[in-house]
């Protein structure tokens, strides 16, 4: 299998895209630590799904926007697996609203989880990876971080920030055998996008050349590629998984 002997940490792994990524990496032989913020039952369900398929997983609670919480999480994973070879920074939230109505706390919450959370995890995990001279980091961006989106000044800013952060980290860490790439999903069917009004969804679908919404598995396949040896010569790249929405 592609990831035999590898240990992975996936943040925000209890549902949606994170869940699909965790299941996919485990199906290719990786031991997977499933981070969740609040929904322990959902994370436990993902763990059971992985184990039922013959894989290995642990669950670990942490709020990625809290550095102390992140530190404890990474310690837990290292105690369980001994190492972290693959880090997928997937945890993310939305607090949509028009700029003129955007509250400070909604802007900050999205930046703190979606951008600063990646800084906290990547800083600590890259230290472990540097010692091993190997690492695969994939950060979840979004096509919105490239194009902007009305109602998402906070989310788009955070995702654009993720891209700048990841490219910088890719340059710093390349000499140590660590690659840092990004996956930018378009319109993917998850709980996060379920709240989008039907009319807006229809308008979005009209802009997708492949004519359908994406599935979490579509994103998971891209992540699997980027963390596998097949992508050893790829770093600092944004891989869009959006049905051709943004070219």
């Amino acid at each position: 299998m592609l990831l035999d002997g590898k240990c992975a940490l996936v943040t925000g792994a209890s549902r949606g895209i994170g869940r699909a990524i965790a299941v996919k990496l485990a199906s290719e032989g990786a031991k997977v630590a499933l981070n969740y913020a609040g929904n322990a039952a959902a994370a436990e369900e993902v763990k059971k799904e992985i184990e039922a398929a013959g894989g290995q997983a642990i669950t670990v609670q942490a709020d990625v926007s809290d550095p102390a919480s992140v530190e404890a999480m990474i310690q837990t994973v290292v105690d369980a697996f001994g190492q972290i070879d693959i880090l997928v920074n997937n945890a993310g939230i939305t607090r949509d609203g028009l700029l003129l109505r955007m509250k400070d706390e909604d802007f900050d919450a999205v930046i703190n989880t979606n951008l600063k959370g990646i800084f906290y995890t990547t800083k600590l995990v890259s230290k472990l990876m540097m010692k091993k001279r190997f690492g695969r980091i994939v950060n979840m961006a979004s096509v919105v971080g490239l194009t902007g989106n009305a109602g998402q000044t906070n989310y788009a800013a955070a995702k654009a920030g993720v891209i700048g952060f990841s490219k910088s980290a890719a340059k710093e860490l390349a000499a140590r055998g660590i690659t840092v790439n990004m996956v930018a999903p378009g319109f993917i069917e998850t709980d996060m996008t379920a709240v989008i009004p039907e009319k807006a969804k229809e308008a979005m679908m009209g802009g997708i050349p492949l004519g359908r919404a994406g599935k979490p598995e579509d994103v998971a396949n891209a992540v699997l590629f980027l963390v596998s040896d097949q992508a050893a010569y790829i770093t600092g790249q944004v891989l869009k998984v959006d049905g051709g929405m943004v070219m």
Partner: protein, 76 residues
């Protein structure tokens, strides 16, 4: 082993230099060819080997092998 010898061994391993190139006066960047990321890794390795914490303010002042040996001897 003296502190210097232990430091020298770590430097040899991390930077891939020969042991006789590492003297007490050697500067990490100019003499031993370290870059800034190498220095961060060296500090991490020293912390691990000697069981100490080298805070960023102290790490920034470390330029030579002597600086490290002195810091370790004063703080271990």
């Amino acid at each position: 082993m003296s502190t210097f010898e232990k430091v020298r061994d770590i430097v040899v391993e991390q930077l891939g230099v020969e042991a006789d190139e590492v003297t007490i006066e050697s500067t990490f960047i100019d003499d031993l060819g370290a870059d800034s990321l190498d220095i961060v890794e060296l500090i991490m390795a020293f912390e691990e080997e000697f069981g100490i914490e080298i805070p960023d303010e102290a790490a920034e002042k470390i330029k030579t092998v002597q600086d490290v040996v002195t810091y370790i001897d004063q703080n271990k």
